[in-house]
């Protein structure tokens, strides 16, 4: 049971949502104009999308939340600067956003706090990807640079101060804007594929931090999707076809497209803008003409087509249908919305809160339970526990007050002792001085007598 979610840069199209198996359209979420890589499904709980600015003069963009059951925007956050790409880790604990100035922002979803903001690139960040296990963040930028951030290093204060740079690796092989990045399975030894406007896709090794393969395509590649077995990857190009490039063995050099490119899927449409791969062995592509096509990658045929908008499709996500979300809740959104109304987390903060507040502000995260319908799932932050403790102390039993009295008594005794001590010292000093003076006089007197 998978859902296909697609958004467009045209505001009136909204976010389309289809059942991949039956092809039935579900709810359409309204008023979303997302940039490329600006749509994320946060831990299967809700949808988040950064927004294109309505007019270029507007100083800040926004990030919107939709809950599954309601087509209207529920939460709106206003970050400090326009955010284009966003990404959430697989559990939905964090949201990362890339700013126009090259900064990366990291928010905690449950509390909405901005945990960290750091300068990552010279130019605007164009795409952000979390690794499968959520321990690495990979960012691509307009200046053609791909950087890999280990979240451990980013958040450890001392680690980040000792190192000359925060990033784990910096790949500067591309000459133009990075258009897409995907990362394979395999934790630390995963393979990363990046696509750029310089018509190349490059395959990198996360472990070794170096280039493994460079593939030159006949046109600019705007989107890539990785085959689950990682034998090939699919590259959606601006000339409208989806190229298939080999990832393991050497392909015969007789290929008509170029080195390492095995074949292509094409239906002579407009430029391919985004790609996704579903677990049901389907390749899904979004095109500039507003259509979402579902391909069978083996037979190279189109299985289904969905129409999203007149403008280009920007983002495609394939997510597992949340279990508690049956079709019923889609059909009568009004009743369910009342129930779900306040379940979404608070909006994201604009600025990093000061450091001392951070100390006792660690979120306590409950792992999402798969089987229980998490209707009442809410996040409890560390602060609530602190409050509990405080309350307990304040309400506290008589024993606590007694302890307090004892403590005060003790204190009183100690101070009294101190006073005694000081008095003694003063007396001693006084005596000493008097003696000195008297002795001096006597000596003077004797001297005078001698003279």
């Amino acid at each position: 049971m998978e859902l296909l979610i697609a958004s467009s840069s045209v505001a009136d199209a909204g976010i389309g949502c289809w059942d991949l198996e039956s092809g039935a359209e579900q709810l359409r979420y309204k008023s979303c104009a997302s940039p490329p890589h600006g749509l994320a499904c946060v831990g299967q709980r809700f949808l988040a999308s950064s927004q294109l600015r309505e007019q270029p003069s507007a100083s800040s963009g926004s990030i919107l939340y939709w809950s599954w059951s309601k087509p209207q925007v529920e939460v709106k956050s206003l970050p400090a600067e326009p955010i284009k790409p966003i990404a959430a880790n697989s559990h939905g604990t964090y949201i990362a956003g890339g700013g126009q100035s090259g900064d990366i922002y990291m928010w905690e979803v449950a509390s909405g706090r901005l945990l960290k903001k750091w300068h990552a690139h010279y130019r605007a960040v164009t795409c952000l990807v979390f690794s499968q296990d959520g321990s690495f963040l990979i960012s691509g930028s307009e200046d053609g640079c791909v950087r890999i951030w280990s979240l451990l290093t980013v958040f450890e204060e001392c680690e980040s101060q000792r190192a000359s740079h925060l990033y784990l690796h910096s790949f500067t092989g591309h000459t133009l804007r990075i258009t897409d990045i995907v990362i394979g399975y395999g934790g630390v030894s995963a393979t990363i594929v990046s696509a750029s406007e310089d018509r190349t896709c490059k395959v990198w090794s996360l472990l070794k931090g170096r280039l493994l393969r460079n593939i030159v395509f006949p046109s600019v590649i705007d989107a890539i999707a990785l085959d689950p077995a990682e034998h090939v990857f699919y590259a959606g190009s601006r000339d409208g076809s989806i190229y298939i490039a080999a990832l393991n063995a050497e392909s015969p050099s007789t290929s008509s497209y170029g080195m390492h490119i095995i074949g292509s899927l094409s239906d002579h449409s407009k430029a391919v803008t985004c790609l996704a791969y579903s677990t049901g062995d389907l390749l899904i592509s979004g095109s500039e003409d507003g259509m979402v096509r579902v391909w069978d990658p083996i037979t190279h045929n189109i299985v289904r087509m969905f129409r999203l908008a007149k403008g280009p499709v920007n983002n495609i996500l394939v997510v597992r249908r949340p279990l508690y979300l049956n079709l019923g809740s889609f059909s009568n959104p009004h009743t369910s919305s009342r129930r779900h109304g306040s379940q979404l987390p608070p909006p994201l903060d604009k600025y990093v809160t000061s450091a001392d507040e951070d100390v006792d502000n660690k979120g306590v995260i409950r792992l999402p339970s798969l089987y229980n319908a998490p209707r009442d799932a809410s996040y409890i932050s560390h602060r609530t526990i602190d409050n509990h403790l405080k309350e307990l102390q304040q309400q506290g039993s008589s024993a606590a007050t007694e302890m307090e009295v004892e403590r005060l008594k003790h204190e009183c005794n100690r101070t009294l002792q101190m006073v005694q001590q000081w008095k003694k010292m003063y007396e001693n000093l006084h005596e000493f001085c008097v003696n000195e003076l008297l002795d001096g006089d006597q000596v003077d007197g004797s001297k005078r007598n001698a003279v």
Partner: protein, 877 residues
């Protein structure tokens, strides 16, 4: 057998008959006793063993022999002969043999090396020399492509044995042998590093031996330098070597050499630490000879140079280890900084090496000696710079070094580098300086805030920068010095990992601006004759563009660069006379870099766009590059780096000015078809159309474009360009047309002429529809018109009316209308109209529309009819 017996009996009888004279003793005849049963057979049967004749010629006919006629086996045996002369001759013979028969070496290489290795520790000097030559010239080059691991391991044991030989000569020679091995099989150093370094340490300790024999020592030290240079000391170099591996065929290949190397280097840190004091002492031992002898002879100079280089490399390796040990990288070395860099070494270097700096010749005798001292000083400076990060040198020392660098850069230390054969040498020295400077500036950014640089370094920094800038501006654009300067500049311009830009108050900033401004000029000066240098400059420009965002202080400089870069693409000298810059003739890589650089101008102005457009129109430009330019400009446009008006006018220029060759659509000659760029132009039209339609709101774009295209059309461009412009119009238009009233009228005037032209360009034989390609071509030119007619029937009506009136006009006053250049006489004109109508009729969709305008068509036919009647009448008269 039986027969032969019988024959022999006969002979016996004859003999008996003949020998009558001689009394024959009669023997008693009778039966012999049968042999006893237990008798032993005493007969011995034997067969001859045939040894083939011992002949020199026949034996060695098929075998490989040396000049002296000895085989490989014999020669190998002779190598262990007790007479040294025989041994030497045998080695010579082997060399001779292998040179003649390389296959012999390949098949017997293990046997050969097993025999030869015994001679590494030979007592005789000449034999060792000969062996060295044999190995160097024949054996190693011959076995290069094979798996060398086992081959080398066979030798190394004997080499180490020789390294501990009693005779110093043998020991020194052994180092030379090891050098040879490393030269051909570099991993062998990392495998045996521990032992080799130990041996070097031992031999250098006993310095009294070798001061006499400097030539030997020199070669041994050269070997040490070679070994140490295999240590990873420069992160950048390691990176670049890895970049080259990207072309490997298998993505997830098993890597064999990796573990051996990495484990080899981390374990020898201690050995290297022991080596440094020995080297420094050794260097000091040379001191007296420097000061007392009037001339610094070549051998001691080479020794000293090698020693210093070795120290430099070791220090570099320590530095690399420290950098590697940082937590950000995964490969961590075994300890914190202190473990690698301890204070005994730093104090030693401070006292014994930096204390004596700079070395000065006692008396200025010759330039050569001065040069030698200069080189030594430079290496010391390099060592100093390398380790100044970890040892905090006292201020006066730093002062001394900075002063020296400044003087060196300014050339006051060596004023005479510019003439004669010394020139090349001088360049090398300058090259050195730049490297030094580069490393200096690296550190600058890292420890820019450190007190000692700000205290005593500031005034020198300024001086050094000034001197550097002077060199950079003064040197020849093609020289390697310029390249070195460029890489130094890249180091200083591109902010490092911390991404901090210098602020305007920094003295560095001023110089950085100067360098940036010099780059476009340099690019133009380089022209197309020095592609590698151009590529370096272009790469630097690209890097600069990548990090020049709006917050960077360089962004304004980068923006301004477009006013000086135009000559790189093309420039208009006079009206219509275009001078093409070096861009067109550069290699594809460089062009790609240049094009990518365009993307990063935050406001790409019409000035540079114009010059790029001229470049695009040049027929020499590869069409792939042309499309790449359009692609990148589109990216730049969508990122908001180009104004929409500039962008559109760029495309309009391309479409209206592109020269399609050859002029006529159907080339008569085959060669014409080959050079035709019509296909390119069609592709260009498509690309431009898709770019324009991707801008966004089509109706707005159409409004902008409508007037522009009409203006261009009224200038009467060639047929192909006109067709392209019409196609753009069609792509942006939609079914109920977006054309304005005025527009339709203007367009109808043009289209009637255009149709005539199209029809005229199609040869007569086309009417038979013989060739499908002709039809296709025809379709290509007519199609935009058909679309326009489909969307606006009014346009068709106007066009038909105009056609009709054209005929009457031309009949009344030929040559009055400008479109009649093809139809001076009426018949031509009529022909054209008729075939145009026929073409329209062929298309089903247009036929439908045309059917609603029967009146107009009938009107035209009437006119034609009346004209025909008129002409017939005339003929009759």
């Amino acid at each position: 057998m039986a027969r032969s017996k019988a024959a022999s009996k006969k002979q016996q009888k004859q003999q008996q008959k003949r020998g009558v004279d001689f009394k024959k003793i009669k023997r008693k005849l009778g039966r012999k006793l049968p042999p006893p049963k237990n008798a032993t057979n005493t007969e011995v049967k034997s067969k001859a063993i045939v040894l083939p004749e011992q002949s020199v010629a026949s034996e060695k006919a098929g075998l490989a022999v040396s000049k002296k006629g000895l085989t490989l086996k014999e020669l190998l045996q002779q190598t262990s002969h007790h007479n040294s002369k025989v041994r030497r001759d045998a080695l010579m013979g082997l060399k001779d043999l292998f040179q003649k028969y390389p296959a012999e070496l390949r098949s017997h290489r293990y046997a050969v090396i097993e025999k030869l290795r015994e001679r590494i520790g030979d007592d005789d000097k000449v034999v060792r020399e000969t062996l060295y030559q044999l190995l160097k010239t024949v054996v190693f080059p011959g076995c290069k492509e094979d798996n060398q691991g086992p081959f080398v391991s066979l030798m190394v044991a004997y080499i180490f044995n020789a390294m501990t030989h009693l005779a110093v000569d043998v020991r020194l020679m052994a180092f030379k042998f090891f050098d040879l091995v490393v030269q051909y099989y570099p991993p062998s150093f990392s495998l045996y590093a521990d032992k080799v370094l130990q041996n070097y340490e031992d031999i250098l300790r006993k310095n009294q031996f070798y001061l006499e024999d400097k030539a030997k020592l020199r070669s041994a030290l050269a070997g040490l330098v070679r070994c140490l240079s295999l240590l990873p000391c420069n992160k950048r170099k390691v990176d670049s070597s890895e970049e080259n591996m990207a072309g490997q065929k298998i993505l997830h290949a098993f890597e064999l050499d990796m573990p051996a190397e990495s484990s080899g280097f981390s374990s020898i840190t201690k050995k290297l630490k022991d080596l440094v004091p020995v080297l420094v002492n050794c260097f000091q031992d040379f001191f007296p000879s420097v000061h007392h002898m009037p001339l610094l002879d070549a051998q001691s100079f080479d020794c000293m140079h090698s020693i210093l280089q070795s120290i430099d490399l070791v220090v570099g390796f320590f530095g690399y280890g420290i950098h590697q040990g940082k937590p950000a990288s995964q490969l961590s070395y075994e300890g914190p900084d202190e473990a690698i860099w301890d204070h005994t070494i730093s104090s030693l270097l401070l006292k014994k090496l930096f204390g004596v700096f700079p070395l000065n010749p006692t008396n200025h005798l010759s330039e050569k000696v001065d040069d030698r001292f200069f080189i030594l000083n430079i290496v010391i400076t390099e060592i100093f710079l390398r380790c100044s990060e970890w040892i905090c040198p006292p201020g006066f020392l730093l002062e001394k070094f900075l002063q020296y660098i400044e003087n060196a850069l300014l050339g006051s230390v060596r004023p005479a580098v510019t003439h004669g054969p010394v020139k090349q040498f001088g360049r090398n020295i300058y090259f050195f300086c730049c490297l030094l400077f580069q490393s200096l500036c690296c550190k600058w950014q890292v420890i820019g805030s450190l007190v000692f640089f700000s205290n005593c370094g500031a005034n020198h920094n300024n001086g050094i920068l000034q001197a550097f800038t002077k060199i950079f501006e003064g040197c020849n654009p093609q020289s390697s010095l310029k390249l070195a300067c460029l890489s130094a500049i890249e180091e200083m311009l591109i902010p490092g990992d911390d991404m901090v830009y210098p602020d305007a108050s920094d003295p560095l900033f001023e110089y950085q601006i100067t360098w940036i401004r010099a780059l476009p000029q340099l690019l133009i000066l380089l022209g197309d004759k020095h592609p590698s240098s151009s590529q370096v400059v272009l790469h630097l420009l690209l890097r600069l563009g990548q990090c020049a965002n709006s917050s960077s202080p360089f962004s304004r400089e980068y923006e301004n660069m477009q006013y000086s870069l135009d000559k790189f693409y093309s420039s208009c000298v006079d009206r219509g006379d275009v001078y093409y810059g070096p861009f067109i003739r550069l290699s594809w890589d460089s062009q790609e870099l240049a094009i990518c650089g365009l993307y990063y101008f935050s406001n790409l102005g019409p000035f540079l766009l114009k010059s790029i457009a001229f470049c695009c129109l040049c027929s020499e430009l590869e069409h792939l590059v042309l499309f790449r330019i359009i692609e990148v400009l589109h990216s730049a446009f969508s990122a908001g780096h180009i104004q929409i008006a500039d962008y559109i006018s760029f495309f309009m220029t391309l479409l209206s000015r592109f020269k399609v060759l050859p002029e006529n659509i159907y080339p008569d000659v085959e060669s014409d078809a080959k050079i035709s760029n019509r296909g390119t132009f069609k592709l260009l039209t498509n690309t431009v159309c898709s770019c324009l339609s991707r801008i966004g709101d089509d109706s707005l774009v159409f409004q902008i474009l409508e007037q522009v295209i009409f203006d261009q059309l009224l200038l009467k461009p060639p047929l192909d360009n006109a067709c392209a412009l019409l196609r753009v119009l069609v792509v942006l238009d939609c079914k109920p047309t977006r054309l304005s009233e005025q527009g339709i009228i203007t367009l109808s005037k043009y289209l009637s002429g255009y149709l005539f032209e199209v029809v005229h360009c199609i040869p007569e034989d086309d009417e038979e529809n013989s060739l499908p390609t002709h039809q296709q071509t025809c379709c290509y030119y007519m199609l935009p018109c058909f679309f326009l007619f489909d969307r606006s029937p009014k346009l068709l009506k106007l066009v038909l009316n105009l056609m009709g009136s054209l005929i009457t006009e031309s009949s009344s006053s030929p040559s009055s209308h400008s479109y009649t250049q093809y139809g001076n006489d009426n018949s031509n004109q009529i022909n054209a109209v008729v075939s145009a109508l026929l073409l329209m009729h062929k298309d089903t969709k247009v036929r439908k529309i045309i059917s609603s305008f029967k009146e107009e068509v009938v009107h035209i036919l009437q006119i034609i009819h009346s004209l025909q009647w008129y002409t017939i009448m005339l003929d009759n008269f």
